[in-house]
Symmetry: C4
Subunit: 232 residues, 4 copies
Amino acid sequence: MSRYQDIKQAAYEANMQLPKLGLVLFTFGNVSAVDRALGVFAIKPSGVPYEELSPEKMVIVDFDSNVVEGKLRPSSDTKTHAVLYKHWEHIGGIVHTHSTYATSWAQAQRDIPIFGTTHADHNTVDIPCAPPMDDKMIEGDYEYETGFQIINCLLKRNLSYEEIEMILVGNHAPFTWGKTPHKAVYNSAVLESVAQMAYLTEQINREAPRLKDSLVRKHYERKHGPHSYYGQ
Amino acid sequence: MSRYQDIKQAAYEANMQLPKLGLVLFTFGNVSAVDRALGVFAIKPSGVPYEELSPEKMVIVDFDSNVVEGKLRPSSDTKTHAVLYKHWEHIGGIVHTHSTYATSWAQAQRDIPIFGTTHADHNTVDIPCAPPMDDKMIEGDYEYETGFQIINCLLKRNLSYEEIEMILVGNHAPFTWGKTPHKAVYNSAVLESVAQMAYLTEQINREAPRLKDSLVRKHYERKHGPHSYYGQ
Amino acid sequence: MSRYQDIKQAAYEANMQLPKLGLVLFTFGNVSAVDRALGVFAIKPSGVPYEELSPEKMVIVDFDSNVVEGKLRPSSDTKTHAVLYKHWEHIGGIVHTHSTYATSWAQAQRDIPIFGTTHADHNTVDIPCAPPMDDKMIEGDYEYETGFQIINCLLKRNLSYEEIEMILVGNHAPFTWGKTPHKAVYNSAVLESVAQMAYLTEQINREAPRLKDSLVRKHYERKHGPHSYYGQ
Amino acid sequence: MSRYQDIKQAAYEANMQLPKLGLVLFTFGNVSAVDRALGVFAIKPSGVPYEELSPEKMVIVDFDSNVVEGKLRPSSDTKTHAVLYKHWEHIGGIVHTHSTYATSWAQAQRDIPIFGTTHADHNTVDIPCAPPMDDKMIEGDYEYETGFQIINCLLKRNLSYEEIEMILVGNHAPFTWGKTPHKAVYNSAVLESVAQMAYLTEQINREAPRLKDSLVRKHYERKHGPHSYYGQ
């Protein structure tokens, strides 16, 4: 049995959640799971339908994007995952989808405004939309540069990847992450729901105000603060 | 067997209706069921996925929010439920969700206008949106104050909780109630449908008029008046 | 066995199609099936959930709305069905729903413009929205008058009920009919789809033109003209 | 066994994908599969519900629209398929649907702008909307002329049917094609998703810019260029 069996299994299970949650059409999404001790991650093979996936088909890749184990070609977004794992030491899983509402905000090149407590339960700020990359980055090592586009967007806004676990890449689509692959998938579903409700909120009231600071703090601390009282 | 078995079972069954009716993502919702004779209610434990629920996992709480029976922590919204049960003597169940369309109206901070007979079959007035709480209430005992925000909104508008069984809390999400937990869940689904159709109505006709009084009265009395002729 | 067994069975089967096609929430809809020889129709009992329906529970009513057979109270919309059967000799079934998009157009009090061939395959004109009734009609025999509101709307527009088999009642919701209960249900689903696409068409292009006459004629005749070549 | 068994089976399987992917209501769609060596294609019979289809019911037609084998009448859109197979030598399958969002763009008579990488992964240009046909074409051999309307739209825009495998016919609905019937169905689902996201993008940002050239090229070449690295 592969020494990577645990992350293969974890990546497989997390990938299979995407179609169940309605976040992907065909193969337009991928999840990876990292093993920090071994310095590698397991990721979905490229273009393989979800119904044909198995733990064995997951591809093992190191943080410089070299395939370490596996017969299939890894996801075309593998280099983006590798860059994020290399630079963000405390994440355990990454998800990329083209989910309908989050992708539409990315195409509209707008941050998702914080309009309510569903958003505030998970983030204290607008969900950032990184600008499209400049032409040199696109023509160069595109997926590798996508990783830096994400990292630099958070840096510029003075946001920590441990506080905000989701981003839109302008003109492209969302990426989310988390301490575990399962949490990263959870974040993708939350993002899609928040994106849909923000869209509807603006349709219902073009002048809808952003959530006030006291509510932002309260809801975030309910779930994440030192005195959190959500969950078991 | 627990003396609270009946309300545990009722709360469990009502909670399980929420995902079936498409009203919740993950654990973003909760239902409670009251036993007036014993002065307690059963409520969903906090953050537990619906597929892992069972009647035994429901938590028994009194009207001052003290846990009376149960190993798990009750829903983070428990104090809101307790306040409503304490002040509204004739309700048997309460539901809180973050359902998509109702929550979007709450985020837009607008009442839902009465546009048609689907709405009038259940309410004779616009569905109220309580304003966001002031900062002191938020920073204090937040969920407890949320209960009073709901109660006070109806008082100010001179509405009885026995006539209107649903409300939006501004920037947050809907609460509904009823004589039974089952009726409260029914009201949550009706609210979501009415919220979606009101949104679409305004998109189709920005000048859509509210329903005229004669139709409001007729439809409400069809279902609820002394000469009602709907149902068996 | 009841001499009305055939229409009870037909009404039952047609009613059960409504939740399958996503056209009803809870009990917000009803279908009837007529027996012209016997001068009666079978209709859904009022307020009974679809999962508890059976052919035996259908109620038999004559064209003056008298219950002829059945232990349950018939749909609260029964008088509307009776009026239509009495005045329109060639229809075999009637459907009433509160389906999302069609009801939203009814609430917006607008005809549904003919924008494309999906619409033209079934109707050569905009789908009419009857105006809300005047207060005397509403306060009088409401459901009986609803039948005349539908009949008079077609008369005023010089439309035959055999050519257009669907209508919106302003502020209320759609009614559809057809040679058979099955065809009436089919029309309800077509109406809902046409209503959704007309809504989207206007969102995408506020200046979208109505379908030109040559296309209207061609598509309608493809399916319904003397030289129709659709179907077997 | 029929010498056409292979294309009957392929056409059957591809047709059955349409309801599974949510692309058709009732019988509003059809797929065909070609056998270039024999000069015929298999197509869905007209107006037959999907649940009653079988490979044996597929109709075999030549490129001049003559039925070669089969007891049922072929799809009313058969002549459009025949024209496309005759003029486009390298396609293996064709799909026609009235899917919700793509049809709404067709009714709005607008090209679908290229807003993001989901679009660019499949096409380098806006998805064209062919203008409605002139009255003579409509009154003449309508479905035959529809084929030429599609061919001429691509010619006028200097687009190759091998590069862009989808089109909207103004006021009508989408057609897609591909090397295989399966690929043509895939294209229909991609088109529907792209159409929905383009609609949402404009709602979220009325000034949303089209995708810049460098991203268009990069994403298309990732999947389709000589150095493509998507899939296995």
